[in-house]
């Protein structure tokens, strides 16, 4: 389907999103809260369908964000879903690895670096920090100095 | 060498001279010193020709000598779990084997009256010793990389030894069943169909024994890791390099004597002819080395057992019929 049909298809999930932003022809941003991210991801991966590229973790000052990037290869459009996690004390979000095994490692990495807990993750182990790195120190959080 | 054991009293003085003379033959000429220098120069030829084939300059003449001298000056590190005695004795056993082999072959080339019946069998057994010593030394290394290299070297040895024996049997049939090298030198078995087949197969077996591409499966196999010599360092590694250099002299010399008719009878013409034949075999080895990739161990085993085996079976049948009917070119 071309870009028009893609936009219409994405509008189907509008009730779970807080905002849709079309930054350019080939760049779409979808905003949602952390609680809805599982359903929106499932829709994007299975129903549209899109190809999962990577996920990003961000420590904004008042919240955490996990951004999931998808690609629609026929038009070259990249769709990013920003999921906001408002709880800074115990950040948690549902893992999408049960239906998207490709996301398993990137979620392990985000957990190692930012400390976001992914619920129902099938294999949560340390991925990229050294073996003797102290537990509970998440290096990319804003409050951690070198 | 059997002349040392003279028991008579008047032979005592002569015995001492004989012993000193044998020591000279083994250690200086044509034994250790001569073969080592010749072998290191031959390995320089291999490296230089490989460099020229690759359009580059290559190392200076004395580079292999510098390598060996440098290795003698480094410290010897033995892994903690290694079997020390076997680890340190293996290179010396290999050196002893190749030293005796090269001394014997040179003696028979220079003075064919020093033969004894069955010396081709002794030469064949001595040729196995360096490979066997390599297997023992690397399996005493207590390293997983070396263990993989050991198992591959064992499989390779089992593959090419059979082909080498069959090639030698072709030669022995063609020369009428004589088991001494001096008689074999008189004839040129390679100038016949079965002899040429056997020569080509024996050339590839020598390529495998020397550890050259395409059969350098044991040493440079895990070149991304290292090989069967992984845990050796310092003087022990220098001994292995010397063993490889001496094999580079002894094995092509063996091929020259068995297949191409040795060095000939007259002094200067024979010397030139012999050196020419040796250089021919060396150039063939280098060209095969530079134009082929490395094969896997299962491909190597299939090659030696199936293809070389069939070629040699054909060669043996041709040799037997040729010998029976007196046709010399079969």
């Amino acid at each position: 389907m071309n870009q028009e049909e893609l936009n219409n298809k994405l509008a189907e999930i509008k009730d779970k999103l807080t905002k849709i932003e079309l930054k350019s022809d080939t760049r779409i941003y979808l905003y949602c809260e952390g609680e809805n991210s599982y359903a929106v991801n499932k829709f994007l991966f299975e129903d549209v369908p899109l190809r999962f590229v990577i996920a990003t973790g961000i420590d904004s000052d008042d919240c955490f964000e996990v951004i999931y990037h998808y690609s629609y290869d026929q038009t070259g459009c990249v769709i990013s879903l920003k999921a906001f996690i408002r709880d800074r004390e115990n950040p948690a979000i549902e893992s999408i690895a049960p239906f998207l095994p490709a996301a398993e490692w990137i979620e392990r990495e985000i957990h190692d670096i930012l400390g976001i807990d992914f619920k129902n993750h099938p294999n949560m182990r340390r991925l990229i920090l050294a073996d003797d790195w102290p537990d509970g120190v998440y290096p990319m959080r804003k409050e951690v100095k070198k | 060498m059997g002349a040392i054991f003279k028991g008579t009293r008047e032979g005592k003085g002569k015995e001492m001279t004989e012993a000193l003379q044998s020591l000279f033959w083994i250690l200086i000429f044509p034994g250790f010193l001569f073969t080592t220098c010749f072998g290191l120069i031959a390995s320089w030829i291999v490296r230089k020709v490989s460099a020229l084939v690759q359009w580059r300059v290559g190392p200076p003449l004395l580079q292999p000598f510098y390598d060996v001298v440098k290795l003698m000056g480094k410290e010897i590190l033995v892994p903690q779990d290694a079997q020390r005695t076997v680890f340190m004795a293996a290179p010396l056993v290999g050196l002893a084997g190749v030293l005796l082999l090269s001394t014997m072959l040179w003696r028979i080339t220079i003075a064919p009256e020093m033969l004894f019946v069955g010396d081709i069998i002794v030469a064949f057994y001595l040729m196995v010793l360096p490979s066997l010593a390599l297997i023992f030394g690397s399996s005493a290394s207590a390293s997983p990389h070396a263990a993989v290299g050991t198992s591959r070297e064992m499989k390779l040895v089992m593959s090419y030894e059979l082909s080498l024996v069959l090639a030698l049997i072709v030669v022995i049939i063609k020369t009428g069943g004589q088991l001494n090298l001096a008689a074999i030198i008189q004839q040129t078995p390679a100038l016949s169909i079965s002899g040429m087949l056997a020569f080509l197969v024996a050339l590839l077996c020598v390529q495998a024994k020397l550890g050259f591409v395409p059969f350098d499966i044991a040493e440079a196999e895990t070149e991304l890791g290292s090989g069967v010599l992984m845990e050796y360092s310092g003087a022990l590694l220098a001994v292995w390099k010397v063993v490889q250099a001496m094999l580079l002299v002894a094995l092509p010399l063996f091929l020259v004597m068995v297949f191409l008719g040795g060095f000939g009878t007259s002094l200067w013409a024979g010397l030139l002819a012999g050196i020419g034949k040796y250089v021919l075999i060396l150039v063939l080895l280098i060209l095969i080395k530079n134009t082929n990739p490395r094969v896997r161990i299962d491909q190597a085993m299939k090659f030696f057992w199936v293809y070389c085996g069939i070629a040699l079976a054909v060669a043996i049948i041709l040799a037997i019929t040729g010998n029976y009917y007196g046709i010399s070119w079969l």
Partner: protein, 143 residues
């Protein structure tokens, strides 16, 4: 000058160690060992085991995970040996100075094992193969 150092200058065998580099320097090192630059004329040969090596070509800023391993590789190199720090990261951590995983440039880690280690520095990001050859030859000539 002792014969050991003299023969080491004539035939330096190298072993390449990557302690957490971005691979740019590693590509240039592999580039260096191809027939185009022909380092065999100096006697330089790439070996597969640190026990055979005379020179360690170390790239990369040393990460926390790689530090004990680099020390182990240095211990397994038979002395006398030279350590070459290739690239800005190995010389003095380069742009990764404030990274959370960086425990220090290569010479700090090596000197923990052996305070008298011979270390040479080849800066650049990445250093050109010609610069690497020039660095190695210069270092060997003043040994």
């Amino acid at each position: 000058m002792s014969w050991k150092i003299w023969s080491l200058k004539k035939s330096p065998w190298v072993f390449h160690v990557n302690t957490g580099a971005c691979n740019n320097c590693d590509i240039e090192i592999v580039n260096l060992l191809t027939p185009k630059f022909d380092v065999e004329r100096f006697g330089i040969k790439l070996v597969g085991s640190p026990r055979h090596a005379d020179a360690l070509l170390v790239t990369g800023v040393v990460t926390r995970q790689a530090a004990p391993r680099l020390q182990e590789v240095y211990r397994q190199t038979s002395k006398p040996c030279v350590v070459f720090c290739m690239g800005a990261c190995a010389c003095d951590t380069g742009i990764f100075r404030d990274g959370y995983h960086v425990v220090g440039p290569v010479d700090k880690i090596i000197k923990e094992v052996d305070p008298n280690a011979i270390i040479a520095y080849v800066p650049g990001c990445p250093p050109k193969p010609e610069a690497m050859i020039s660095g190695v030859v210069k270092a060997l000539s003043i040994l």
